[in-house]
Amino acid sequence: MAAPHLLEVDNIEVVYNRTIQVLRGLSLVVPKGRIVALLGSNGAGKSTLLKAVSNLLAIEDGAVTSGAIRFAGEDIAALAPHTLARRGLFHVMEGRRIFEDLTVEENLTAATFALTGRGASKPSFERVYSYFPRLHERRKGLAGYLSGGEQQMLAIGRALVAEPSLILLDEPSLGLAPKMVEEIFTIIARINADEGVSMLLVEQNATVALAVAHQGYIMETGKLVIEGSVDKLIHDQDVREFYLGFGGGGDARSYRDVKHYKRRKRWLS
């Protein structure tokens, strides 16, 4: 591999509250300049992975118990979330998490803290407004009054202000109308192309995610099950059936039958 990987997740395990294991032996990489999609059902541990990468896990009493995560070659274990943001790893959290009591512009100002120590000149929000003209119109208004789509734009806009080399995007399509999803994913693809920012994109909406991604991983209950280029994924029978929603040949056995073979087990024990 010639291109160095911007992000390497190496065989990590994550445990919440010291008892509940969420991720088991998970590895993935994000090459420079690419969008990597991570797909999987609810509760599979996708958001947990992102929080492990941005070190926000500790806030929720979670911890990486083994394995390593490297960003730009450096182990992130000892780096606080804000330090990571200042080094160019920006996490756009699930549910947008904008500051509702602050104005749009103050939200962007908050993100300038990520530029601390980089000696950047006075930050300008022009770039954000050029991608999202709607935010410019509403820059003096409270962010809480924005629509869901505009809030998602603001969340991504904050990431742009921080000038990161890697953006972690957690479910940007969540709760948005299909048209808005289209619009946002189109811009995501544009940002990637124009700015050369790498992205790790977590989505349930596999279709749109694979439409913008270069490669993807699919995880189930804390483990990766399939990985590869987008091309490979969209031709995979299981992916088509379970994640893209194309009906197809049935599974080996139906859950309706579990009663019978499980029952047997019960008798035996």
Partner: protein, 293 residues
């Protein structure tokens, strides 16, 4: 009772003590906003400020303009130590546990002050001009007037600073959503530390003013109880609420003390508190929902 001059004087005196409530309330709100900690030790930190001033001015014979910064620094130092030593380990615990930690802290500080300076009430060396002040014909005790001015300058600085500075944005962002603040690159632990340091410094400064007017004693922390009423009335997370609540409670106390008698002061303010809790639990200006237990 239509002695307008007298009413005006009472009102002004009420504003004077209300301003001290307001400035202490601001310190309280600052900590609450940043860390969601209800700091019941604010009264004791205020007391500590008064004693630190006494120690510097009467013990080391420093002039007042040196002793005041010493007192503020002492408060700030306590704030820093407390935040690192007691509050940081409690992150994630129930708000009530943290609140009890601050009660314990208050007790420790009161004991400490007693060991160092004894249990007797003390007077601070005079450092404010004592020439009587008249607004129109109304008399205002000079200390009260200067206390009011100082308190108002601080409160205004806070309200404006919070609204227009980048630091204000960091504070508000941290208050709104810690994880999100972290994720956009805000050094959340530093915001915590700074808010405690600044707030405790301010409280200590307020302690000097309060001590100048009423003397200092190890039981001075009771002042914190009135401040608690003020911030609940104004809204725990609202600087403007602390300002309005402080002045309001100050004036109400003044009138209650004058027309009902000093023993009614607490009764009246706490009755107002109960009323507010029943009809507007987040206070007049509070924006956030009630914390869940």
């Amino acid at each position: 009772m239509t002695d307008w001059l007298f009413l005006t004087e009472v009102f002004l005196a009420g504003l004077g003590s209300g301003a001290l409530y307001a400035v202490t309330g601001v310190a309280f709100v600052l900590i609450y906003k940043a860390t969601r900690v209800v700091n019941l030790a604010i009264g004791e930190i205020l007391m500590l400020g008064g004693y630190a001033f006494f120690g510097a001015a009467a013990g080391w014979h420093l002039p007042a303009w040196v002793a005041l910064p010493v007192a503020i620094l002492a408060g700030a130092l306590v704030g820093a130590v407390v935040e690192r030593g007691l509050i940081r380990p409690m992150i994630g615990e129930s708000p009530i546990s943290v609140f009890m930690v601050t009660i314990g802290l208050g007790s420790i500080l009161a004991g400490f002050v007693q060991i160092v300076w004894g249990a007797d009430p003390l007077r601070l060396p005079e450092f404010l001009p004592s020439a009587p002040i008249f607004i129109g014909e109304a008399y205002v005790a000079p200390k009260v007037a200067y206390g009011f001015l100082a308190a108002m300058v601080v409160v205004t600085a806070f309200v404006l600073g919070l609204r227009f500075s980048r630091g204000g944005v960091a504070l508000k962002a941290t208050a709104a959503d810690q994880a999100a603040a972290y994720s956009v690159g805000i050094d959340v632990p530093r915001v915590f530390s700074l808010s405690w340091i600044v707030a405790c410094g301010v409280a200590a400064g307020a302690g000097v003013l309060v001590g100048a007017i009423g003397g200092i004693s190890p039981t001075m922390g009771v002042f914190g109880l009135s401040v608690l009423v003020v911030v609940i009335v104004g809204g725990l997370d609202s600087m403007a609420g602390a300002l309005v609540g402080g002045l309001f409670i100050g004036v109400v106390e003044a009138f209650a003390g004058t027309f009902l008698g000093g023993e009614y002061r607490f009764l009246v303010t706490f009755s107002i508190l109960i009323l507010i809790l029943m009809i507007r639990p987040y206070g007049l200006f509070g924006t956030h929902e009630i914390e869940r237990l």
